[in-house]
């Protein structure tokens, strides 16, 4: 283990020791805001439930699988993703100003928010910790291939890397390349190959048969 890993764990432990304190502070704030009528705990329950059970990468995976099988939808998606999704009648309505960017042979897209944690919640749910972390935010804009290597991905030297820094309210979703050997597959089966990370751009879609 490197010195850095030690330091990381140390920081983690230090924050962990504050957990009870943090929990109490959250409870105090929620109690006061509720007593004053600014918020309703029942609403908070619904919001938590929404993000734990309703939205997540499965939504984006269905969008990608549909784009892989329906060329008209794919064209509409690349033109105006929010409109294409909301007018398709196939998905829950989204509010994000969504931009879909397509991986092609020779061009690979990656998404980041260097300033905070902007992420397409409506189609991917909440971001993983690594996406919000300092290592990813600091490095992907300068050393995208180094970051890809840490995800086990090596791209050909000549492949163009296109990084999108989400510095405003536009949100980005990567449309990964459809794996070979999936001709004729139904959308539900295709969607299983579309991982969260492949829609951020830190991995590729899974190959058929890659998982047991």
């Amino acid at each position: 283990m490197s010195d850095h890993d030690h330091e990381h764990e140390h920081d983690h432990d230090r924050d962990h020791s504050h957990l009870c304190d943090v929990q109490l502070r959250v409870r105090a704030l929620e109690t006061i805001l509720t007593e004053k009528g600014y918020i309703d705990p029942a609403v908070l329950d619904q919001i938590v439930e929404h993000f734990e059970t309703k939205v997540g990468p499965h939504v984006g995976a269905r969008v990608v699988a549909h784009a892989w099988t329906d060329t008209k939808f794919k064209a509409a998606l690349l033109e105006d993703a929010t409109r294409a999704i909301n007018e398709s009648g196939l998905f829950d309505q989204i509010g994000d100003h969504l931009v879909v960017v397509e991986n092609r042979p020779g061009e690979h897209n990656m998404v980041v928010c260097t300033l905070c944690s902007c992420y397409p919640w409506d189609v991917l749910g909440l971001p993983p910790v690594w996406y919000k972390s300092a290592p990813y935010r600091s490095r992907v804009v300068m050393d995208p291939r180094g970051v890809l290597a840490e995800f086990g991905v090596t791209l050909p030297e000549e492949t163009k890397i296109r990084v999108w820094d989400s510095t405003a309210e536009t949100r980005f979703l990567v449309l990964p390349q459809r794996p070979a050997g999936t001709e004729g597959w139904p959308e539900e089966r295709l969607a299983e190959l579309v991982t969260r990370d492949s829609m951020i751009g830190t991995r590729l879609a899974e190959q058929p048969g890659a998982r047991p």
Binding site: H8, V22, G37, I47, E52, D96, L126, K160, I161, R162
Partner: protein
């Protein structure tokens, strides 16, 4: 502001470590903080830009060492105190000690769906867009002490307008309490070489979403 939140291009943070089978929340309180943020912003007591600014204003060592939702809690608490929604003695006591101040609106369970998706940030333009796709632009060299969405690594750099995203709320104004001040928003593409010099990956191209005041003609 030139804070530690503006991380693009910094060294020293180590490897990206992905957690296997990561849960949506690592503790119940994280979910409460996320929901609190959504419900409080619905009251319009403050807004998303103030929320981001409140975290950026945290002391740098705090920003770097507390966990993500803990940082949110610190930001929300700071804004709630600044706007008088709560007072420090109430937080210490864990209960209300004085009457509530009015807010514009509060969310009922029947309206909770409004918290799931966000409203649009597009606004009516104050004038025509100054740039069009293909135009060469240079980003401004600014170092404001307040909130901005122009990252340091992309200041004073030459790039090309790749797309016009419409006219949006201007975060630099909104966070400062100066209203929406709608501005045209563009995707601006830079070469890796322009941003990082000779050592850049020759295949790298990067874009930021840049508001018109961040851009000058070349």
């Amino acid at each position: 502001m030139n804070g530690v939140h503006d991380m693009g291009g910094m060294h020293g943070f180590g490897k990206v470590v992905a957690e296997q089978d990561e849960p949506v929340f690592h503790a119940d309180w994280e979910g409460r903080v996320l929901a609190l943020m959504r419900a409080v912003l619905y009251t319009r007591a403050w807004n998303i830009d103030v929320f981001r600014d409140s975290q950026e204003q945290l002391p740098a060592p705090v920003y770097l060492t507390v966990s993500y939702y803990h940082r949110w809690l610190l930001g929300i608490t700071r804004s709630a105190l600044e706007r008088g929604l709560v007072e420090q003695d109430e937080l210490d006591a864990g209960r209300t000690l004085r009457p509530a101040r009015p807010v514009e609106r509060t969310m009922t369970p029947a309206e909770a769906g409004n918290a799931f998706i966000r409203g649009p940030f597009a606004r009516t333009p104050q004038g025509d867009a100054r740039f069009k796709p293909g135009d060469r632009v240079r980003t401004v060299n600014i170092h404001p002490a307040g909130h901005t969405r122009l990252p340091r690594y992309a200041r004073d750099k030459e790039g090309v307008i790749a797309a016009i995203r419409g006219c949006h709320v201007f975060p630099d104004s909104k966070a400062a309490g100066k209203g929406d001040d709608p501005q045209w928003l563009y995707s601006v593409v830079f070469s890796g070489r322009e941003l990082w010099g000779r050592q850049a990956d020759p295949t790298l191209e990067l874009s930021i979403e840049a508001f018109e005041p961040y851009l000058e003609s070349v």
